[in-house]
């Protein structure tokens, strides 16, 4: 009784539970959407980790979400791999959004090879980001990608249908795109913090 303890000492000793983790001071992998960066615990994409993006339908706005990151990386002369995209990337459209297409490799892979190719690219350590559209990826396959992303220090993005939202996922970040009156993104899971309750609106638009 009467003993005075410095609050800092208690916190450093990890004896006091924080209701909310202290936000990291600005992530090194910003998403390019300031409102989204603000709600993510790492201040951007989780580094060297897997991000899962759940879509209600193809073409809903998944590239709008990703292209600022692809543009930033390709401008810095880093390699980006696009594995088994559902459609052809339209060069004019990507370049209009500042992507350097010579830094982007499009890999056509069969259904069974998508995960293999994604893992190889992630593990190699020579790609900055890997965008993959796997078919029927299960929990184990995603975990492999997560480990590969960590080994190769790369950003991994996996696009899947919204119906997979009910399954547990080893991804460090899970986002769900919702298209209503306007496009918004809901954080389903994020490592290092609680997911925000409300969805984050993306400036929807086609230009």
């Amino acid at each position: 009784m009467g003993q005075v303890l410095a609050l800092d000492a208690l916190i450093h000793a990890r004896q006091v539970w924080h209701g909310r983790a202290t936000p990291a001071p600005g992530g090194s992998q910003p998403t390019g959407w300031s409102q989204l960066d603000a709600v993510l615990p790492s201040g951007g994409w989780p580094e060297h980790a897997l991000t899962e993006i759940l879509l209600p339908a193809d073409g809903i706005g998944e590239l709008q979400l990703l292209l600022p990151t692809v543009a930033r990386l390709s401008r810095a002369a880093r390699q980006v791999m696009v594995i088994a995209p559902p459609y052809l990337p339209c060069v004019a459209g990507w370049e209009a959004r500042d992507v350097v297409m010579s830094q982007v490799d499009i890999v056509q892979a069969g259904e069974r090879d998508v995960l293999w190719a994604a893992e190889q690219c992630l593990r190699s350590g020579s790609c900055a980001a890997v965008l993959a559209w796997p078919h029927g990826a299960d929990d184990r396959a995603l975990r492999r990608l997560q480990v590969a992303a960590d080994t190769g220090k790369a950003l991994a993005f996996v696009f899947r249908d919204r119906r997979h939202a009910v399954q547990a996922s080893p991804a460090a970040l899970r986002l769900e795109l919702e298209a209503g009156a306007s496009l918004q993104v809901r954080v389903r899971k994020c490592r290092g913090g609680n997911p925000p309750i409300s969805a984050v609106p993306l400036a929807a638009g086609w230009s």
Partner: protein, 469 residues
Amino acid sequence: MLWACVLLPQLALDGVLRRREDAHEPLVLVSGPAQARVVHAANPPARAAGLYRGQKLVAAQALLSQFAMVEYDREDEARWQRLLAAWAYRYSGEVGLFTHGVVLEVSRSLNLFGPWPHFESLLRADLRELGFRHRVALAPTPHAAYVLAGVHDGLAVEAPDALRHALAPIAIGQARLPAEVAQALPAMGIRSLGQLLQLPRAGLQRRFGGELLALLDRLTGDEPTPMESYRPPDTFEQRMEWTHEIEHVEALVFPLRRLTADLATYLAGRDGGVQRFELELEHCHGPPTRVAVGMLSAGRDATLLFDCARGRLERQVLAQPVLAMRLIARELPPFVPAGRDLFDSRPANAMPLDQLRERLRARLGEDAIQQLRRTLDPRPEFAQTSAPGVRPAQLPVLPRPTWLLDTPCPWRGPSPEILAGPERIETGWWDGGDLRRDYYVARTAQGQCAWMYCAPGEQGAWMLHGWFA
């Protein structure tokens, strides 16, 4: 001048052993006529069982019931020696061939590769990697290096004055003199090279002719050695055969690793690269199966070559068992190492991007990896291509989607809400691919932004061509 000699005491045996995975199985090389087969060489497990060189095969079979037998092939031995000459060419521009040995001039190589002890360890590490037993010696003349390597592994005599001293105690039988000389000298009481070198020259000339004197002069360095320098050939061809048939592709992986490593060694010696090569799988009947291996750019890294070849080989279906495998590289373009940024932020152990691309292509197909670029064609179908070429500089100002459908498909949903348009594209008269379309940006009921077109002037019968994803 300083010469290093790499003596290969078991060249033929090592050549056979390196294509086998199991090193503990007794193995002998046999030679001689069919009635009087003798053991030409035996590997350590066979020697441990009492087999030795020159033994009659019948006697060997009496000693050991189970051992592998391979016919000794002089041609095969010569091929291995040429491979090692190609390897040595990497370290020196002057390489000569002796029986069971390769000599290389190293006085200038030492400037590049460091002092002799370090250089010697480099040579030995390479030879161990290649799988050849070896003895190495250094001397001021190639003949002296050859003789010393046979007597004392690892001996280095750098000063010409010390050479006579080092040669003096060597017995006549080990001095690699012509056979009749080596027989006659001990009968005359001359037992070492030192004694021979002290004999009056006139007497030796009378008794043995001028050739022995010339040989001794070359040995001690009084006369330069005329030698035909090795020149690496312009194509690479290496073959491996087995005593049994191989039915599964998996079993070809080990020999393939050897072959591609040999190719890499040869390329390093030539300072060249290879962009395409061929694997020939020989069968008992019928023509060989050919597997072509092509790469995006010239390379010579052993891992890269192996990865590429393995990927191609694993997709091959073997119709018949394989008896032998041959690797042929005819085009050897110059090798330009890829430049890397000093401030590269990638992890230090990253696999080079080219190697990654080759690995993906090997499994997914030759055209699996594309880089797209814009063309000047205004028609959306032709506005981009994966063929290499120049990128046009100016950017389009009109709205373009981010996803493009391979071929436009009819829109089946409810009529979309038009956001922008029309943009009329009416062109293509020059190659018969005329089109007349009005493109619109439209929003579907699900909230997607679509790039659609219809016939000019109409707003119906929509065709979907892309998504503003």
